[in-house]
Symmetry: C2
Subunit: 438 residues, 2 copies
């Protein structure tokens, strides 16, 4: 099957593990059978390909997430990059055209759209497969998944089906209600709208041409910034009469806050953490090298990364966003296509960065105007290029990179480097990138 | 007056701010009028010299604390260094002989002994002055301070005075009692023994010669390691009949745990900390550069340093020690005589250190056998010496120090340096120190 995963949102709600460039779906919180951890997007990809080894997964996302996706999933997925945020209809239209014009998917093939970050069982993706089959059999223009509600939530939109059959026409859509109204909907057989649906590719390509003036994917990409922001619900769903919904009653969790995330963690602690025996219902995630000691903590979630430290009563985690928005610090941790970039010290005139390069990867060939850099190779082997000159390097080697010097490194093995940046102005935008023909 | 401050104990109880080389009395937790912070030992020194600007303060301590004392108090105090821990009688004997043989204090002069870490008002040191006056007037061989108890504590020893007069002969000493016994003592007019006492210097010098075979301070220092461990109470106080006690009723707090320390903090937060409005009775000290966000925390103390992060219910802080003892990590933060040494990253084969040198200071001239070092000068000016060769350095300069190379740095201004150590074995004991004649 063809699946488009919508991978959105920069994350304040799971601060300090999510930040402007690491959305929550890239945080490695889920334990695998081999005791290593995987992120939500890795988990979702693994689940999809477990259910359907031939699934073709395309991730629709913004430029800032490309490095993290390549770091976590390699070249196994296609990526459709939105040049800027333009709400869900333009995003889905662009992804549909990407499938048609770039991946050469036929207009008759059915495609499913899913968010990249629900916490679900494998059976959810079996249901997505059925959704795709339903869309292929052409009974409706749009086929949605409706989640059987487990409580009268105020956080989700509701779908009112015509009948209580497994697959039914949709009677009506309802916006997020208050609890009392939600109870009423549920008594009428309503389902949660989880933003999962399938359609024949031609349906959305046609909708896109109806609503936007463009020729093909490349033209749409070029004029993307000029498109009106409009949601898929508003542009398509509300104007479409031929919609059906399929019930799904398996586990489904939208892990948007620490409170919800802590519910789905396999272990109470990740990283260097000690809980005393008076702690209860407390989860701790520590990405720092130093230990966290928790004594007598009740109903808390505690998370530490190089961006900051959160100590939070679970009930309060819904209210984090406004506090986190006040932290305007630079991002201290980033997954790059070549590995991990972790700021370990900032002081006036200097920034120190811990760099981990993956074997076989390389940085872009680049220079800085306003800062010198010193690389100390801590482990591994590779080749640095300084103003076109190549040099083999290994542990203990020191490379001085004066401002203006073009430089890059190719890692033969996994490599660790400490980079010290010195300059009166240290700014991520102080970077010129050059083509390399090494 | 002459005061000997006993500055003891490596600290697990105020972890992660105290560690094997930073005892609790060196943590800067107390706000001064100018909004900067001072440590307990700085506060105590300021209080003593406010009460008596001519006070001569000698700190009796171990070698590991000398750098921190010089860093925080400069050359304003004398330091009597115990070569190793040998309990309070040898420590006080050594300090007394130091006053006599090194500082040339007369045997007729009275001397007060105080712990370096009580949280008190200035009036406490006025009382210490009175204690010294009483000791001078020769009514008793030992004059103790007795704190008026505020509750039947199980944590202190009790002094039973003969009368309820302000100064009275001591009838009896009592070990730490249970609460019921403490109540009984208090109903008999008992006082807390806070370990504060005064005597004529000759008294202790004679006691030392009675109990230890030595000639003078230098001889005692040389044989210090061979001395029997014995407490001052056991060696002297219990065998002395001519003891008086003076009552003190001002504020006195023994801030040995985070629970007690949090009671005497001026502000609820120190450092980069945000508390939401659902936090209550919570104190947070953050020595890291990254922010701490606390939401809905009740009755907690939270402390973060480069050694670790503590999240602790206040009632549990009494039980920290056994948990902290399990952390066998290296000390990440140290105050040196020349400034601050702060480990910012450890990985296999490398350690990265943030160094702050004070203007006018210098490191010892030294070398390492098993590691290379790279210094990147971040700010300030100074002179490095590499194998005897001097070189002026300033921001942006990089100094490569291969293993075996003798090196040091003299700071002309305050300087900041990032030091990257690379080697298969990185060990604090890998250090040879050389005389320098620069």
């Amino acid at each position: 099957m063809n699946i488009i995963l919508l991978s959105g949102g920069s994350g304040k709600r799971l601060w300090p593990l999510s930040n402007d460039i690491r959305s929550k779906q890239f945080i490695k919180l889920f334990k695998k059978d081999d005791d290593s951890y995987e992120s939500m997007v890795q988990r979702v990809y693994r689940q999809i390909t477990t259910v359907d080894p031939d699934a073709k997964v395309t991730i629709a996302t913004s430029k800032t997430q490309v490095s993290a996706i390549r770091n976590q999933l390699g070249e196994k997925v296609d990526i459709c990059i939105e040049p800027c945020r333009r709400d869900t209809f333009p995003a889905i239209a662009l992804a549909a055209l990407y499938l048609y014009d770039v991946l050469k998917v036929s207009l008759d093939e059915a495609v499913a759209i899913c968010p990249a970050d629900p916490f679900v069982e494998n059976s959810y993706y079996e249901a997505v497969g059925k959704l795709v089959n339903l869309a292929t059999s052409n009974n409706a223009n749009l086929t949605l998944m409706g989640i059987e509600p487990t409580y009268p939530s105020e956080k989700y939109g509701y779908i009112i089906p015509e009948s209580d059959e497994n697959v039914s026409k949709v009677l009506e859509f309802k916006e997020k209600p208050d609890t009392v109204t939600a109870e009423k909907y549920i008594s009428q057989g309503a389902l949660w709208n989880a933003g999962v649906f399938a359609f024949k590719l031609g349906y959305i390509v046609n909708k896109a041409h109806e609503l936007i003036d463009f020729t093909d994917y490349y033209d749409l990409l070029n004029k993307y910034e000029t498109l009106t922001k409009i949601s898929f619900d508003y542009a398509v769903v509300e104007n479409e009469n031929n919609i059906q919904v399929m019930r799904y009653s398996g586990e489904w969790k939208d892990v948007g806050t620490w409170n919800m995330m802590s519910e789905v963690m396999t272990d109470d602690t990740i990283g260097n953490v000690v809980l005393d025996n008076e702690c209860s219902n407390t989860q701790v995630i520590n990405e720092l090298d130093i230990p966290i000691l928790c004594m007598g903590c009740k109903d808390m979630v505690i998370a530490a990364s190089s961006d900051g430290i959160l100590v939070c009563d679970k009930e309060r985690s819904d209210y984090m966003k406004s506090y986190v928005e006040k932290f305007d610090g630079d991002v201290m941790f980033a997954e790059k296509s070549w590995g991990i970039y972790n700021v370990i010290d900032i002081q006036p005139g200097a920034m120190t960065v811990k760099i981990a390069l993956q074997a076989g990867s390389n940085m872009k060939y680049h220079s800085h105007e306003l800062r010198d850099e010193v690389w100390t190779i801590v482990s591994g082997n590779g080749t640095v290029v300084i103003n076109g000159e190549k040099k083999k390097v290994s542990a203990g080697d020191i490379i001085n990179i004066a401002r203006g010097t073009k430089h890059t490194i190719f890692a033969d093995t996994d490599m660790n480097i400490i980079e010290v940046q010195v300059g009166t102005e240290i700014d991520k935008f102080d970077k010129k990138v050059f083509n390399n023909d090494f």
